[in-house]
Symmetry: D2
Subunit: 336 residues, 4 copies
């Protein structure tokens, strides 16, 4: 049975959602809403069978639609997703999930009560690279985890409504949440805005976890070069994940430290060891295609999505705390 979907928001990401749902063979997009007439004509031109509308309410009122995908600015996520759930639709919502922790918790509650599928579009979790890293960590191949360090910078378009953490770090936080499978105890963030009346464009975020695991994120809209690189250090092996590499995105280094306690000597000796490097082959699957399929399968099975509301909420909780910390020049914020 084909799932019938409506898409709210046909800006940058909406067209990708429409294409992937339509090409999945499991769903069909029936309606698209956007406030901008020229975006609707664009959709109509490419997909004559889709009904365009400026009123998102039209989607919610159409009882033939099973699900709604929301690809609008974050400030509208809560209102739109809540209304969609209340009209009985399954919901896929763009990241960041919501603008506040409170909103996210409320949406989760609504979906659970109505037994509807609520999924957050954390696309990176459906890439072969991130899946491979998750496997390496989960099977213990890296040993005990030491740190997670990511850099995501380039000369980017300023978002008026959110700072650079909400725009860029959201990707890396979703990946970290998946790979570490743990919540940070505290965060500290720093950053500044260089344009008057605009949000912070450069930011740094540290997350403290149990067992001395530390995670750090560098995001920047003002960088002259594009960098998408994550280092993950463990006691046995270390990973470099470079998303800009065309083929070898994940490299596993058999490197680490050795701690020895020489006889009769008080101080420990810390040395290091180096071994082979290995770049596992990665599948060529498109992430968004896999994600669209997962959403539909969860709807059919009534199963909890990999990137459910809770995953979205985990990320929003860190972003909210980080923004508060950043306004106080790194003042740490404890998380429950």
């Amino acid at each position: 049975m084909m799932i019938k979907i409506g898409v709210i928001g046909y800006g940058y990401w909406g067209p990708n959602l429409v294409r992937n749902f339509n090409e999945s063979g499991l769903a069909v997009v029936r309606m698209v809403s956007d406030l901008r007439a020229e975006r609707l004509s664009q959709a109509a031109l490419r997909y004559p069978a889709i009904r365009p509308t400026e009123r998102y309410q039209d989607l919610l009122e159409d009882s033939s639609l099973d699900a709604v995908a929301i690809a609008t600015p974050v400030s509208s996520h809560y209102e739109l997703a809540l209304a969609a759930l209340q009209s009985g639709k399954h919901v896929l919502v763009e990241k960041p999930f919501t603008a506040t922790v409170e909103q996210g918790a409320r949406l989760i509650e609504e979906a659970e009560r109505r037994k509807l599928t609520l999924m957050v579009d954390h696309t990176f979790l459906f890439t072969p690279a991130v899946r491979k890293i998750k496997d390496l960590v989960a099977t213990g191949e890296l040993g005990q985890l030491y740190y997670y360090d990511s850099v995501r910078v380039n000369l980017g378009l300023f978002q008026h409504d959110v700072n650079v953490l909400w725009d860029l770090a959201v990707h890396d936080l979703s990946i970290m949440d998946f790979i570490l499978g743990a919540q940070p105890q505290a965060v500290s963030a720093t950053g500044v805005a260089h344009v008057d009346d605009q949000p912070e464009d450069v930011a740094y975020l540290t997350c403290y976890f149990a067992d001395n695991i530390i995670a750090h994120f560098h995001v920047n809209w003002l960088a002259p070069v594009k960098i998408r690189r994550t280092l993950i250090g463990g006691s046995q092996k270390m990973v470099v994940y470079d998303d800009l590499e065309p083929s070898e995105k994940v490299k596993v280094y058999d490197k680490g430290i050795t701690v020895t306690e020489p006889d009769g000597v008080y101080k420990m000796m810390v040395g290091y060891r180096t071994g082979d490097m290995w770049a596992p082959q990665l599948a060529m699957t498109e992430a968004l295609k896999a994600e669209a399929q997962h959403f539909i399968e969860c709807i059919h099975a009534g199963a909890k999505p990999l990137t459910d509301g809770q995953a979205g909420l985990n990320v929003v909780r860190i972003l909210e705390a980080a923004t508060a910390s950043m306004r106080n020049r790194g003042q740490p914020v404890e998380l429950g």
Copy 2:
């Protein structure tokens, strides 16, 4: 007139100092002291004309020596430099300058009172790459400065006595101090130790300056790959300084943002522009050679070195505050 020099400490860096002073044609190393007999034999083998000794006091008591270079662990810098100044010697001291701000201030005072040259070995300030970047900033070619971001990581030997900030960030802080020519208002640092009874091996440091300039430093002894990269963003141009590049270490990007205020619209529009990239040719001079020469010239002329005690103190002040902040998970520390 040849300057006669004694070198205290013949470990990793001492031999480089001896070689560069001897090859300068302006100075001659007469004595070397070290507590380890095998290091002294090494020095004697290579330089039959140098007198080796286990007592550094021998150098201070030799009235024929004009100057002393100190290449020992930081914990001994203060005591050794003070004694050297008090015995009338000019002093070149390894970085970090001292273990505390108080010690550094005391050494500056002593050198000034005795009109002796006191120089700190901030070698990078004598590299053609850093000089070129200083020029680009000083002449305003980058426009208004936005940020300074550096990464210095690799699988490195643990230092037992200092954390990774004092071992690695000291290089970048000395470069930043030179290029920005300003003192930070506050710092926030995070980091953790992964080996029991050992200092922090991964650390992140943010410095806040006036005019929304922000500087950030990532240092790590546990990284699988070696990275030595600094990004410097300005309103007109941006620099990437990669010290591992064999030839094009400094790249200047004609990139930036454009801020426009459309008629009758409240919100500003922020766009970006991209232009050519340019890698200036750099001289091939060896930094330590230029530094040795500068020390000798300052002694002759009674001039203040580029990397004087004050430059050393600026860096120690940040390191001291950063370590305090790091112990409190990023709690910001205001600097006078």
Copy 3:
């Protein structure tokens, strides 16, 4: 007035031609022919307004069509293009232009006699990178040209009907022909086949020009990594063109040699000099879009295309001679 176009061959490249003609705003694709039914259904699905047919003759017999684009294997180019010209259509033909020099000359003659536009799809000549290099050479910025060296290798699909020179070197020969604007005096090629009954999969080609200019091409279907790099050396400056670089595809090095004749010394001294490196900003225009537009403009104006039949023939002449040389292990072949 919109140009009406038919496309023969809807395999790998045909869909790109259809899309670009349709999006040009200057032309409309009316018919598509292919021998494979599934390719025709694909075309029909995406473009309901296009008439699909298995008979290319249908396109030639439709008097409403102004032009035909031929995107079939090279062995059929001559027959299809000749028939198209004879039915009065303007023709854009995929590269390599024809399978032999004789065929190419015959097509040029036919097009000239009928005053029809005949263009060869040398797409790279419409990229900003190649245009920029052409400018650098034409304005004399590189000085006297010394050599042209290109490498185009990767793990690629074997073509059953042509060897790797005809499949890959054709790109680089078209670029070289454009940039040098001269014909080689002789060629020598080497290469082997590693699979029985299959064409050569690794090949090397040298072209000798007047004034000691030499050009060399390395093409390989069996390489573990993808390389697309061209070096162009001149007496004043040198260029590195790396088509895989996302942004700085063209780098200009102010490097060269200096020849001095010391007084009273018979032998000349050859030294080298190095200066800045410079990566000019390149426009973001899509090559095939510019090419489609150029074809249409040439039809309207009756102008000779940049990549006319003669340009196509220049490349075929080299490929034909190179294949002969390769069968004789590098035996040079003189070109008129």
Copy 4:
């Protein structure tokens, strides 16, 4: 028993030989000869115990010397090595071995008759990277060999007496000879000279082997960038050897082609497969140190060196044929 050595030629490479022999603990350099007084003073300054002389005959006449290392231009190798052998010295001679095949054969004969060690300084064969590649080929891990492709280019000093093949390709030919362990059947070379009265500065060389194995070499003194890269393709795996990589010099790609013969179909289908990439850890040993030690061990044991006269001769034979081919624009030259 320490081997006593004299070194003829103290230019660029001679000092490296002196240092490595002296530091081996197995030999001591007693004399150094050079025609240039300033080079001799340089040697005397650094090694007071070494006797400097302008007459190489002094070394040959000193009966206390066991061996002689020859680091002079290739044109003098034959005369010097022959005289050294005739005076009963073991000989290590710089590469290229000799200026002609005839000279090389004569030296081998002389050494065999006198039962003296004759070794050619093919340093790369003592690097961990080349050893690792040899292992991969010898154990069959790459499968059946397809091709060997090397590039060695940079802006280099012109050699007045030899062309760029003799200066640069000599390195790669010695590596290829070691790894393939076979002699080419024929060679074809192309290249030109761009400076009057100077040798060829850009050259390309193809070697044909049995079983469709092909090897190609690109050498260039006029390149704007430095490249040192070799691709080796096999039916099972492929290697990229990049000598400029600081750590991962050798990468092994589990990539190749698959040849299938579909039922009832005449033509074979050639597809490709891709798997993991793997960079084996390499030892950190210095090549010249290992080579010096090997020379001394061969003298003691009367054993044939890995890089004996025959290895040197194999390379000279190819260089001689290649130069002849290059003078005839690629005309192939058959090798016995």
